[in-house]
């Protein structure tokens, strides 16, 4: 992102919203990554202790995060695609 010397310090509402959406686009993968690394905290099954996470829970969790990530990505795409295209052409 080059900062032009003449670029304004404050933006009108629309551009402001767009920039925040782009922040979200950038941050989303980190968020999803964070959620997917949560299983690292789950206890590894131990024959003596029976407190392991059942597979059905693990499946629901991993696929739930996946679906939520896709949904967020889809919503962000709906909100930003047009403006990104304009900026790319402009």
């Amino acid at each position: 992102m080059s900062k032009l010397p003449g670029s304004p310090l404050f933006l009108e509402r629309r551009s402001y919203r767009f920039r925040r959406m782009m922040d979200a686009v950038r941050l989303l993968p980190l968020l999803v990554l964070g959620f997917w690394m949560v299983p690292l905290l789950w206890p590894v099954p131990d024959p003596s202790a029976g407190d392991a996470v059942p597979m059905s829970h693990a499946l629901r969790y991993v696929f739930g995060v996946w679906l939520a990530g896709i949904a967020c990505c889809f919503l962000l795409w709906r909100r930003t695609a047009r403006q990104i295209a304009q900026e790319t052409q402009g």
Binding site: V44, M55, V62, G69, I70
Partner: protein, 897 residues
């Protein structure tokens, strides 16, 4: 039951159908129709699905049956990369489009100074890295065929096994044929292969639907619903979360890296990308595809483990499960899905690799060692196409060899992971290349070599098993008996999972060496240019000028371009360029911009390094180096400096001219003043002279004058003479002062006394009354100067105020104070002041303010100034007061302290 022959027939039909679709797509593209589909984000997303190969289709279930949920990491990594498209993929796609990159090797070589060595290195690594992957596809197709064969009822029990080596061979031949026919029809690798892309999109749909169909059958047909399936999962052998944290992280990272670096993924992600906007659509659509592909993997694995006999290959549950339930058509559909996965992967992978091999290995060798030079006429294209076809055969035969060597018995996922580890070695160099300008070619070569060597030693060679490529003693005791060189426990760190171990060491040491060597090496000029362009791709998407092509004749370039692009395309390109140069006939001028464009166009066919080398042959290697650029920059900096000096000089000249003009104005004004003074002085002299002459004539000639009259006339003469004398005295005084001939009579005195004397004298000499406002406290300052002269100055100033102050109630305030080593006396009246134009003149000789009467000759202030100058002081007009104000500054007495 499905017979093997039926299966083969269906496969062939399917392939023919694919061909038909591909042909239709190419024809439509050639006619410029069907863009809405060919260039749609949907097709782009579906073409990305070649990530899901037979490994996904068969191997994922086997992986899940063996290690539970760990299989999903292979899809989490790419999902993350896609969701994070803004960070890496967007850059890659923009770079790929603006530099017309043909492959991952082309990108890396182009970034590091169009280095052919690096391109060759990356190509060889990619070929070696992808070989296990192709073997995986062969293995999966062969396995899937074998399961149908073994299920065949006619076959005698136990004799249903087909000859897997033979089957694999024929599968390999079929795939090679398929790829050659599909992929090498047009040369321009940068141009999108519409037919291939559409065929892949169809295959993507087929494999997704097939897997979903099997999954749905398993969940609702066999297990009896979602809840029952989940319950069954929890009861099964893989019913608990048992993924090791290290593997979870390492495999996710590995899959993400491979997704970016795999040659075939790079081909569909970057090279075949027709529109940057599609990337964002794919950012949610492709993760969705991946999620759907992995959705039923665990259920299929669990139900398969439950229903199928002990010891059946879990990699084939997708097929064997429907077969065991008597669902033959579903099994057939699943087979087609697996076949689709394998073929689409092999087609695109070999296409990408063959482009790399022909562009980076065959063409440079041909250019160097052939007796050909590029100026010769004749089509180069058949060489390129032939080399691509041979490369395809070579790559597929390598895959076949790996399959035979590894025995075809390994788990699919394990083989795939090895492949991922190999291509992931490009990641540090790739990311370093697009984010870090300091990355150098030497660093890239060192990092890649070290990382790749580690991968071969810790992952590839051990995959053949102890005693095959590496001896059992090497496994036990390390290379050359060095314990710290054991392939699965480098540096003596035991207990790591082999995959985590290999990924950790190879990638981290690769990155470390790459960064360290980059830090201590210096990049070549072209490298620096390319580095700046790649890293700042969004600041300027146009390339900097690379050629000074005055030597290259357009004809030579035309001949070369025709041989590579084909006559029609080359002529079209040259015509377009000529029009850009606004030449409507003939060939374009070989401007640097044109040669640059031509190089890019050629790069699309033969890769950046080769195109660069070919153009260099014609242009005589006159590529502009950074030194040249720096020299140019220096020159322009000098010119800039010179012109700024000129500017300064011209500004100085302007200033001088302005000063001269004002001086001239002043002189003119002075000259006018002198003229007017002369007339004034002659008038002044004349008036007393006239009366002196008249009265002296009366005294001489008139008779009978009374003594009073004589006295009166004589006294008039006398006073007129005094007036004359005073005038002449003033003139003389001024002349003496100006010539510096005056001798000062220094005395010590107090300022108050000086002012007292001046006020008294001035009042006595003038009838007009002015109120004088003094502050005697400030006047208690000792002076060491010519007091009489000073009194004269003050008298003059006070008298002026008396004469010229126009206020009704004239008032003069005199304020004295000491500032530093100076005494300051301000004399300010409440009159009208002096207008700005006259302010510069009042201290000049003979200056009289216009419109003011008075009998002065205009010498008073001039004399004052001369006196004060002699007294080492200063007199000035105060501009910032309301009335007329003068400031007299004098040095204080030296010995006063």
């Amino acid at each position: 039951m499905v017979s093997l022959n039926q299966l083969v027939a269906v496969c062939l039909l399917y392939v023919v159908g694919l061909f038909a679709v591909a042909f239709a797509a190419e024809r439509a593209a050639a006619r410029g129709r069907g863009d809405w589909l060919l260039r749609s984000p949907l097709v782009y997303t579906l073409s990305l699905s070649i990530y899901c190969t037979a490994w996904t289709f068969y191997g994922a279930v086997g992986y899940a049956a063996r290690s539970g949920l760990e299989f999903v990491t292979i899809y989490l990594g790419p999902s993350l990369v896609m969701i994070g498209w803004w960070w890496i993929l967007r850059r890659l796609v923009r770079i790929g489009r603006s530099h017309r990159v043909t492959s991952v090797a082309d990108l890396i070589s182009s970034r590091y100074g169009k280095s052919n060595l690096l391109a060759i290195l990356v190509t060889i690594m990619a070929v070696i890295g992808v070989t296990p992957y192709i073997a995986l596809q062969l293995q999966s197709v062969t396995l899937s065929l074998s399961i149908f064969a073994s299920a065949e009822p006619q076959a005698p029990s136990g004799g249903g096994q087909i000859n897997s080596a033979q089957a694999a061979f024929w599968v390999a031949v079929g795939l090679a044929l398929f790829t050659v026919l599909f992929g090498t029809r047009n040369l321009n690798a940068n141009e999108r292969h519409h037919g291939v892309v559409i065929a892949i999109a169809v295959e993507a749909v087929v494999k997704l639907l097939a897997l979903l169909a099997v999954g749905a059958f398993v969940v609702w047909g066999v297990a009896g619903g979602v809840e029952q399936t989940l319950a069954q999962i929890d009861r099964s052998a893989i019913g608990q979360w048992q993924v090791e944290g290290g593997r979870w992280t390492a495999l996710t990272l590995l899959a993400a890296a491979a997704f970016i670096c795999l040659p075939r993924m790079f081909q569909v992600l970057v090279v075949e990308n027709g529109d940057e906007r599609h990337l964002q659509t794919a950012s949610w659509a492709f993760p969705l595809y991946l999620m759907l592909m992995s959705l039923f993997v665990v259920p299929i694995a669990v139900v398969g483990l439950d229903l199928l006999p002990e010891g059946s290959n879990p990699d084939l549950f997708v097929l064997s499960l429907p077969l065991s339930q008597g669902q033959n058509s579903l099994a057939m559909f699943a087979f087609l899905g697996g076949f689709s996965s394998a073929t689409s992967m092999v087609i695109v992978a070999t296409l990408a690799l063959s482009t790399m091999v022909s562009n980076h290995i065959v063409m440079p060798i041909w250019l160097t060692y052939g007796q050909n030079t590029v100026q010769q006429s004749g089509d180069v294209r058949h060489v390129v196409i032939l080399s691509r076809r041979l490369s395809i055969l070579l790559i597929i035969s390598l895959g076949y060899c790996y399959y035979r060597l590894s025995g075809g018995g390994g788990a699919l996922a394990a083989i795939g992971t090895i492949s991922f580890g190999g291509v992931a070695q490009f990641l540090p160099v790739l990311l370093g290349g697009i984010f870090w300008r300091g990355a150098t070619r030497t660093g890239a070569i060192c990092g890649l070599t070290v990382g790749f060597a580690l991968w071969v030693y810790t992952m590839l060679l051990p995959s053949f098993g102890p005693g095959a490529a590496l001896s059992a003693s090497t496994f036990q005791n390390g290379l050359f008996g060095l314990q710290w060189l054991r392939p699965e426990a480098l540096f003596g760190i035991n207990g790591l999972d082999p995959t985590v171990h290999a990924v950790l060491w190879s990638l981290s040491i690769n990155a470390l060496v790459f960064i360290a060597v980059s830090l201590f090496s210096f990049p070549a000029p072209v490298e620096r240019l390319q580095g700046a362009q790649f890293v700042n791709i969004f600041d300027h998407s146009t390339a900097a000028r690379g050629w000074s092509a005055s030597v290259a004749a357009s004809e030579d370039l035309m001949i070369m371009a025709q041989r590579i692009l084909g006559a029609a395309e080359a002529q079209g390109f040259f015509r377009a360029q000529a029009q850009l140069q606004e030449k409507h006939d003939g060939l374009p001028e070989p401007t640097p911009r044109f040669v640059q464009a031509l190089e890019r166009e050629l790069a699309a066919s033969v890769g950046a390094a080769t195109a660069h080398a070919m153009v260099a042959q014609l242009v005589g290697g006159a590529s502009v180096s950074v030194q040249d650029l720096l020299a140019v920059a220096d020159e322009s900096a000098q010119m800039l400096e010179y012109s700024s000096q000129l500017e300064i000089k011209s500004r100085a000249l302007t200033d001088t001219a302005a000063k001269l003009r004002s001086a001239n104005d002043k002189l003119t004004q002075l000259s006018h003043q002198k003229d007017s003074f002369l007339s004034q002085i002659s008038h002044e002299l004349r008036t007393p002279m006239t009366s002196i002459r008249a009265f002296s004539e009366i005294l001489r000639d008139a008779e009978g004058l009374g003594p009073e009259e004589k006295t009166r006339y004589a006294s008039i003469i006398h006073s007129e003479t005094i007036r004359l004398t005073r005038l002449l005295d003033d003139l003389l005084d001024l002349s003496v002062l100006e010539n510096g001939e005056v001798s000062l009579n220094r005395q010590r005195g107090v300022l108050r006394d000086v002012l007292d004397q001046a006020v008294t004298t001035a009042r006595a000499a003038n009838t007009r009354v002015i109120k004088i406002d003094r502050e005697s406290a400030g006047e208690d300052i000792v002076l060491d100067t010519d007091l009489d002269r000073l009194v004269q100055v003050f008298i003059n100033l006070i008298t002026n105020a008396q004469k010229y102050c126009v206020a009704d109630d004239p008032q003069l305030s005199i304020r004295a104070h000491q500032r530093g080593r100076r005494i300051i006396v301000d004399l300010i009246d409440n009159g009208a002041g002096i207008d700005a134009a006259s302010q510069t003149l009042i201290f000049e000789k003979f200056s009289r303010l216009p419109g003011q009467g008075g009998e002065g000759a205009g010498l008073g202030l001039a004399i004052c100034r001369e006196i004060i100058k002699r007294l080492e002081g200063d007199i000035s007009y105060l501009t910032d007061v309301s009335g007329t104000g003068f400031r007299v500054e004098l040095p204080i007495a030296q010995t006063d302290i």
